[in-house]
């Protein structure tokens, strides 16, 4: 196990370099951020040259990348073009997005698993069919439609919630956006749990337990549920990283000043230090989540052993 972890950690290094390089090239390929700073005016060449020098834009791309990475390892994520250190932006944005993603995960656990267990135990009954249809509908409607419609109906028309989230982004404000963000994954969790329960319901150990005369409730909770949740737990683990990056749309609709919001702003304004910095962190989160899930999977399922 230890050797496996070390090998995986070593493998992370080239992946990390590759991904950040890819993003770096993409972001810088968008164009020259200096143009945008001058608004409708053609950039004055002298000032533009000074700005390019300040942000290392006058150097070849590979050197820019090396310089940038060098700085990152000393904890310096550079300065956004509006003069704010990127690390400061991160300190504001990441807690908000983590909060949003965690709320979404909690919804997935509470609603998704409950529905999944319910339908898995009652396969083929009306409740199973209706939930199944519902999950399909949820999956097929894009998040931005649910988000905007929800914002209009619940936020504006009926006035139950504030339609936008304040800069503080408190937990109660994030409840509805969190639900919107969770919806699609929630539908997947429901389906995953349902299938898993149904499958394990026919497994030998369950039949044995039932044959032993254990109460139905005890069989369901102690034996069936615990084993059926293995794939669900691993799914949720990976989903945390997905949700953080995928919050782009939700954060835009509800004006949540998190990672997606800053990234979107950064891309629109070609604030390359912001974009590359945020993506670098996201990539680390993603890669680590991957590793943790693989390990978790081995821990949960004794049939898998890592050499």
């Amino acid at each position: 196990m230890g050797r496996y972890v070390i090998r995986r950690l070593l493998q992370m290094i080239p992946v990390f370099i590759g991904t950040t390089l890819l993003i770096f090239v993409m972001v810088y390929a968008i164009g020259d951020p200096v143009n945008a700073m001058f608004g409708d005016r053609a950039p004055d060449p002298a000032t533009a040259a000074q700005l390019r020098e300040e942000f290392d834009l006058d150097k070849p791309l590979w050197l820019q990348y090396v310089l940038y990475m060098g700085k990152i390892f000393t904890g310096d994520f550079g300065t956004a073009f509006n003069g704010q250190p990127v690390i400061e932006l991160m300190a504001n944005a990441f807690p908000i997005t983590v909060r949003l993603a965690v709320i979404a995960i909690i919804f997935e656990i509470l609603i998704g698993i409950t529905l999944g267990v319910l339908t898995g135990l009652r396969r083929g009954r009306p409740i199973d069919t209706s939930v199944l249809v519902l999950t399909l509908v949820v999956i097929s409607v894009p998040t931005f439609v649910t988000g905007t419609l929800g914002q209009y109906l619940i936020g504006v028309k009926w006035g139950w919630i504030a339609p936008a989230v304040s800069p503080a982004a408190t937990v109660d404000e994030l409840l509805f956006p969190g639900l919107v963000l969770a919806l699609v994954s929630l539908a997947y969790v429901t389906r995953l749990t349902r299938t898993s329960i149904a499958e394990n319901g026919r497994a030998d150990y369950v039949r044995t337990a039932v044959a032993k005369g254990l109460p139905r409730r005890r069989v369901t909770v102690r034996h069936l549920l615990r084993n059926s949740l293995i794939p669900v737990v691993t799914f949720l683990g990976t989903d945390l990283g997905n949700l953080m990056a995928g919050a782009l749309v939700t954060e835009r609709i509800f004006n949540i000043q998190g990672v997606g919001f800053q990234l979107f702003q950064g891309i629109v304004r070609q604030n390359s230090p912001t974009v590359v910095g945020f993506v670098t962190i996201l990539v680390i989160v993603f890669i680590v989540a991957n590793l943790v899930v693989d390990l978790l999977y081995a821990v949960l399922d004794p049939r898998i052993r890592y050499a």
Partner: protein, 545 residues
């Protein structure tokens, strides 16, 4: 069952993690509700592009803050757009080239230090010096010695401009490198603001919390989130705030700002999203403003492209202009927040200032039949189709582009005569324009820096001017503008510029589309909300109920 216990454990761990993370959020929740104390106006804002320095801010959002925190020599009257003395007592000249500036007594920055002649001269020298990388440095290009501090390339030869000289604490002289009769009228622009000593001694600290001499002072500024401003007790101007302060809140989406206004979480939103305009009056129960502003939209031709050159193609350009149904786009897409254009300026200049309702004449009038005929006479569209290009990340540019294209298509009876080419980001759009790589029509908007006809024409149509994106060049036009700048009286200057404008319209390097109004909505918590000619809310006048 070993595996099973572990599942419980890990589910528990996830739950615990969730609680911890959720707990983190609880502590920070003071900003939202607390800031909106009794007399504070909560206003819509988007994150300024550049750091908020007077000579480094060239868009409305940063301009909003500068308008509240700074006063220059002059100030534009929020109603009439006329330049009135603010910090200046007088700006005099005998020859339109050498100016003497005298300051009023008693002006102070919000940190208590006095506003002196040095505050202006140092600020202007800072703004012009190339190594300070200020995007508005070209505003100082008429001052003698600008080339030394801001050479086209290489290191500057001097740190200060020779044309600026401090006579005493409240007097300084300015020597321009050419005659420019309307120069004093430009001094209300934010780039000419004075700066306190702390700007130079502790620049980083100043940027965190800008200090100015305007009616408001900055209390706190969290970049990308919000800015809290309160009354500046040191303010010496006569437009003292009628509220306790302003909280600017950052949004990325106008629509979210508007929904927040409807829900009562925000007091002032300027520039409502186009889709909401139809309902705005009803939604807001009349708390909706729609008034002229110094913003003008055109579509330009790439004059540098051979396909658009020559007499024949002039007919095509005129035909395209006549094929656009400006009235219908204004009413159906913009619900009256745009006025069909009749010249290259803006109604905020008023007739006296050079605005005309007839200069463009029939070229700007929708005549589909004549349009089709003219284009046919001119040999048809180059390559059979024309594209309209614009960025679509802000405003509602896609909507009008599509509407204009549909209008052209139906006038020409051809499905694909006109094609929309939306560019996702503004900088991408500007990149192609700066590189002079356009091959069809492209959007060219202009938001005035100061309310003068000169500002609407010279930067856009003078040969090689900074915003002359179409690459237009006409000696006659250049000469008329030069004469206008040298003219001794304002009337003469304006008529020279109007003559230049007539010449430009004959060549039609850009099709005038419409004048953009400023529009805004406000909550029932506030009253006396108005916009100035720059479409920025006049915050000092707003009263909180």
């Amino acid at each position: 069952m070993r595996g099973a216990t572990r599942v419980t454990w890990s589910v528990g761990a996830v739950g615990a993690l969730a609680l911890v993370a959720a707990g983190c959020g609880g502590g920070g929740g003071t900003g939202g509700g607390g800031g909106s104390g009794s007399g504070v106006v909560r206003a819509f804002w988007t994150d300024p592009q550049n750091p908020i320095e007077p000579a480094n801010t060239n868009e409305v959002q940063g301009g909003k803050v500068l308008d509240m925190t700074f006063r220059g020599l002059k100030k534009y009257n929020p109603k009439t757009a006329e330049a009135e003395n603010a910090v200046a007592e007088s700006v005099d000249s005998d020859d339109q080239q050498n100016f003497t500036v005298k300051l009023k007594k008693g002006w102070k920055f919000s940190d208590g230090s006095a506003v002196t002649a040095h505050s202006f001269v140092d600020a202007w020298n800072y703004g012009a010096l190339v190594t300070n990388k200020q995007v508005n440095s070209y505003f100082f290009e008429y001052i003698e010695g600008y080339e030394d501090v801001h050479p086209e390339s290489g290191a500057p030869k001097a740190k200060t401009m020779s044309g600026l000289e401090v006579k005493d604490n409240r007097t300084f002289t300015v020597k321009l490198n050419q005659k420019f009769s309307l120069w004093p009228e430009t001094l209300g622009y934010a780039a000419y603001s004075p700066l306190p000593k702390s700007f130079f001694s502790d620049h980083d600290g100043w940027l965190e919390k800008p200090v100015g001499n305007g009616p408001y002072k900055v209390d706190s500024y969290t970049r990308g989130q919000s800015m809290q401003l309160s009354k500046n007790d040191e303010y010496a101007g006569n437009d003292k705030p009628k509220n306790d302060g302003v909280e600017l809140r950052v949004y990325t989406d106008q629509n979210t700002g508007y929904t927040d206004l409807q829900a009562g979480n925000l007091d002032v939103v300027d520039e409502l999203p186009a889709g909401q305009l139809k309902n705005a009056k009803k939604d807001l129960d009349g708390r909706y403003i729609n008034q002229p502003a110094g913003i003008f939209q055109t579509v330009s031709f790439p004059e540098y492209d051979d396909a658009w050159k020559g007499k024949d193609k002039l007919k095509v350009r005129q035909g395209l202009s006549m094929a656009i149904d400006r009235e219908k786009v204004s009413s159906q897409i913009y619900h009256g927040t745009r006025e069909p254009a009749t010249d290259y300026t803006s109604p905020v200049l008023k007739k006296d200032g050079g605005y005309s309702t007839s200069l463009c004449g029939e070229i700007c009038t929708f005549q589909p039949k004549k349009a089709k005929k003219l284009i046919a006479e001119g040999g048809g569209l180059p390559g059979g189709t024309v594209t309209i290009t614009s960025n679509v990340d802000t405003g509602s540019h896609r909507q009008w582009m599509e509407a204009v294209c549909n209008s052209i298509n139906s006038a020409l009876d051809k499905d694909n005569a006109c094609r929309v080419n939306p560019v996702p980001t503004f900088s991408e759009f500007r990149k192609d324009i700066s590189a002079k790589k356009m091959d069809g029509l492209f959007r060219t908007g202009w938001q005035m820096d100061y309310p003068l006809i000169q500002n609407f024409l010279q930067p856009l149509f003078y040969t090689d001017a900074s915003s002359n994106d179409s690459g237009y060049s006409n000696e006659k036009v250049d000469k008329l503008m030069d004469e206008g700048n040298k003219a001794s009286g304002e009337k003469e200057a304006i008529s020279k510029f109007q003559d230049a404008e007539k010449e430009i319209l004959k060549d039609l390097p850009a099709i005038p589309l419409w004048y953009q109004n400023g529009n805004a909505g406000y909550s029932d918590r506030v009253s006396d909300v108005r916009l100035n000619p720059f479409s920025v809310p006049v915050f000092t006048e707003i009263k909180v109920k």
